[in-house]
């Protein structure tokens, strides 16, 4: 997971791109080059929750349903339509019959079932979003039935991350690791683009797939290239020299300066990715004490962060959910108030204590937030030790209560725009870190769990809104998190890039399948 800063830039089509053999319609031409600072772990759709993986896969694979870039509701993709049983436990999908995978084989319901079976066998991370999903079965060649253990409102939305793989291609490589090893470096999708080169530390190249079932209309590029460039300054230099079209990881300062520069464009997307300080609520130490967390909750200045670190690109949060979302409950988190915090510290004699925070130093604003918190806490006499890690390493530490640090920084990238994707992931005790989820506060409150589960299984939106609002208030009263910010997705790019749109359901990806380059 990474932050929502993407950029793109414009310039002339490189002459060599014409040389790339491509015989499809004339409006598929050119090369789009995207810079990326973090190298992908693999190509496995089981890891599509990881944005570095997802950004490659989003145009390589298709799902039954998909959020189109710029839209907040799902549209059919491989599925043509579906029915839900009255008890909300059975979903029957009709799927397209004209879909060809990149290897030329046709898609049938067997592929869909195979995909889900494999993910379950591999206990894949993407299943986290699938709630009480139980099993899938093929009714006929183009009908799939899925069964849930309990009703689950956002089920259709969650399917947007379930990328359908070709059974014919993957099955021979299942071996003892459920095909993880093979799919890590090979793709078996049906999307508009196929993977042509995979050098995960250097470059990944995608080529337009001639036999794409959706056909080609409008302007598209023939080739999409991801270049892995860790240094923000290098990305900037390459963007300026025209060697990349989109450079998402340059500093906010540089993005600001590009806004006024000729030949570049900065797109600001309405992202909904809250950044949290999560306090280890199950800790035996001080952070396990709600009154201590109450003190901590007042020590972070969100306004300062928004104005100076994010340079104004974002929204002021007042609780874990973005303000304009359904079910948002206002002011469930305490505002910044050092005097109140100081009073608590003095009353309880907390001065002199030491806390530890883990964060991702590669993300500029995470480090800035840690430094901000460190600075404020040190005024209260509390020492905050920081440990910079990478995402997988940090994720590994929260899988055990003993190794969970007092505070963890984490971005929540909701898989679809629904309160469930944020609140359930971050606060349901089923999703605590030691259960393998993103509730790194290890927050466990059975009443909150009940509210979240009830809201998830309901189809009535206003009932859900009430339930989520109530859950937020209960969560707020126990101070498990500080919601640091709701940054906007700021993407700078060359002005030659046409058709870029921010995709809220696939945060930190690029809708390269819709983009053309002048």
């Amino acid at each position: 997971m990474k932050i929502c800063n993407l950029l793109a830039s414009a310039f002339t089509v490189l002459s060599f791109s014409l040389a790339i053999p491509f015989t499809a319609t004339a409006d598929v031409a050119g090369t789009l080059i995207i810079a990326e600072n973090e190298t992908p772990e693999n190509l496995d759709p089981a890891n599509a929750t990881n944005s570095t993986v997802n950004q490659l896969l989003v145009g390589v694979y298709d799902a039954l349903v998909q959020f189109k870039a710029g839209e907040t509701s799902v549209s059919p993709q491989l599925a043509t339509d579906w029915q839900v049983s009255d008890d909300g436990l059975q979903y029957t999908f009709k799927i397209r019959s004209d879909v060809k995978f990149h290897d030329g084989s046709s898609m049938t319901s067997a592929d869909v079932v195979f995909t889900l079976d494999r993910l379950q066998a591999a206990s894949a991370a993407v299943l986290n979003d699938m709630g009480p999903f139980k099993s899938a079965e093929a009714i006929d060649d183009y009908t799939v039935k899925m069964t849930l253990e309990a009703p689950f409102g956002p089920f259709i939305s969650a399917l947007s991350r379930i990328y359908i793989v070709s059974k014919a291609q993957v099955e021979p490589h299942m071996s003892d690791d459920n095909g993880r090893g093979w799919l890590a470096v090979n793709a078996a999708g049906s999307g508009p683009y196929s993977v042509s080169t995979y050098k995960p530390t250097e470059v990944v190249t995608l080529n337009a797939f001639e036999g794409y079932w959706g056909g080609w209309d409008g302007d598209h590029v023939a080739e999409v290239v991801f270049r892995y460039i860790a240094e923000p300054s290098t990305q900037l230099a390459l963007l300026k020299s025209g060697e990349v079209h989109i450079a998402p990881d340059i500093t906010v300062q540089d993005k600001l300066s590009l806004m006024d520069a000729d030949g570049f464009r900065v797109d600001i997307g309405a992202a909904a990715t809250p950044l949290y300080f999560q306090f280890n609520t199950s800790s035996d130490g001080l952070v396990g004490d709600a009154s201590f967390r109450k003190m901590l909750a007042q020590t972070f200045d969100r306004k300062l962060h928004l104005d100076y670190v994010l340079q104004g690109f974002g929204t002021m949060p007042d609780g874990p959910l973005p303000p304009d979302w359904m079910g948002h409950s206002t002011s469930t988190e305490l505002p910044f108030n050092m005097a109140a915090a100081k009073e608590l510290v003095d009353q309880n004699g907390w001065a002199g204590s030491t806390l530890k925070v883990r964060y991702l130093p590669a993300i500029e604003e995470e480090q800035a937030a840690v430094e901000q918190l460190q600075s404020n806490l040190s005024q209260l006499g509390i020492k905050l030790e920081a440990e910079g890690m990478t995402w997988p390493a940090q994720a590994a530490t929260v899988q055990d209560l003993d190794t969970t640090s007092d505070i963890n920084m984490i971005y929540n990238f909701p898989s679809f725009p629904d309160p469930h994707a944020i609140l359930n992931t971050s606060f349901n005790s089923q999703n605590t870190g030691y259960n393998g989820g993103y509730n790194w506060a290890q927050y466990s409150n059975s009443e909150v769990d009940a509210l979240l589960n009830q809201a998830a299984s309901s189809a009535d939106q206003s009932e859900r809104a009430t339930l989520y609002a109530k859950a937020q208030q209960m969560i707020g009263a126990e101070y498990p998190v500080i919601t640091v910010s709701l940054p906007g997705s700021v993407v700078a790019m060359s002005s030659a890039v046409k058709g870029y749109r921010y995709s809220v359901a696939h945060h930190q990806t690029f809708n390269y399948m819709d983009i053309s380059v002048d």
Partner: protein, 335 residues
């Protein structure tokens, strides 16, 4: 030849201790490797399964034997993150690093040897002082800082050389046989690729070599000075041998071998120091791989890198010994 046998046995022994150390290193990783390996969303059963799959339930000695056995088959384990055999990762990452280190080594030798020789000959002159100053400065410059500055000034501001990558973008589809782009360029007769790869190598190689060149220069100079003080140089002068003849025919062949040993060691150290430059110059390679593995606590990958770099180090030293033997068929080494 007896000497070589000895060296070889010593190398094997080194290799064994190397694996032991790396194995122990993999044991001190905090937390349960099985939990880490299972990744997020794994259940307790899955972890238990992994634990027995990874052989973690067996006694330590047995684990070590299994580890060595797997190593012998070239199995370095799987990365917990890429799910790929680490050996394959390393085969992909090693050539770019070796290419970088070899070029850095060439720069090192091309500067150290002649400059060291000349500065020893003109010991205590202004020229010598300048050389020594250069060595001092080189030995004080942090590699990563030099790399950043050079990248920004020469690559960024002046745009004289490329700032990142191994090849220009237009060659992104270039595939060679060996993974060494310089070599592949030559083999395939693609001189454009060769020169492009070389251009991309200059800055990183120079940044990498500076510190080592400073040390190499100093050591060469010292070795040459002590050679110049030997009586045979005096005798050569009494034979009316010219200065170049004395320098290149007499002093150099005798003074170079001791510094060659140091250069052999430097090869391994440089390979280690790639962790400081590869990321900056956006080059793939073992250093960048190592940093990533460390920060991800991908302990199998870390251990494999340590092992492989250790092996390269041993090989480099063996090569140097062989070279010394060839250069100097008699004497010295048998003692």
């Amino acid at each position: 030849m007896h000497y070589f046998f000895q060296r070889f046995v010593f190398s094997l022994l080194s290799l064994f201790i190397l694996t032991l150390i790396t194995f122990l290193l993999s044991q001190v990783v905090p937390g349960d490797p099985a939990i880490v390996a299972a990744g997020p969303n794994a259940g307790a059963e899955k972890i238990e399964l992994l634990r027995s799959e990874m052989g973690l339930d067996k006694p330590l000695t047995q684990q070590f034997l299994i580890y060595v056995g797997k190593l012998a088959q070239g199995d370095l384990g799987k990365s917990w993150f890429t799910h790929q055999p680490i050996l394959e990762d390393l085969i992909r990452e090693l050539p770019p690093s070796l290419e970088l280190v070899i070029i850095a080594m060439v720069i090192n030798l091309v500067i150290s040897l002649p400059l060291g020789l000349c500065s020893a000959r003109y010991n205590d002159t202004r020229f010598d002082s300048l050389v020594r100053l250069f060595a001092m400065i080189g030995a004080g410059l942090p590699i990563f800082w030099t790399a950043l500055i050079l990248q920004n000034v020469i690559g960024g501001e002046l745009q004289l050389l490329p700032i990142a990558g191994r090849l220009s973008f237009e060659y992104r589809a270039f595939e060679g046989y060996t993974g060494f782009f310089l070599l592949d360029g030559l083999i395939l007769g693609r001189l454009d690729v060769f020169f492009d790869a070389l251009k991309h190598l200059i800055l990183p190689a120079f940044s990498l070599s500076l510190l080592f060149t400073a040390v190499g220069l100093r050591i060469t100079r010292t070795a040459m000075i002590s050679e110049f003080q030997k009586d045979y140089v005096l005798l050569a002068r009494t034979k009316a041998a010219s200065e170049p003849r004395i320098m290149f025919k007499h002093v150099f062949p005798n003074g170079a071998p001791p510094s060659l040993t140091v250069f052999g060691m430097q090869f391994g150290w440089m390979l280690g120091a790639t962790v400081l430059v590869e990321e900056i110059y956006g080059r793939p390679g073992i250093g960048r791989y190592a940093v990533k593995a460390v920060t991800q606590s991908d302990i199998h990958a870390v251990v494999a890198v340590v092992l492989v770099v250790g092996i390269v180090f041993l090989l480099a030293n063996l090569v140097v010994d062989l070279l010394l033997y060839i250069l100097n068929p008699r004497g010295r080494m048998d003692k």
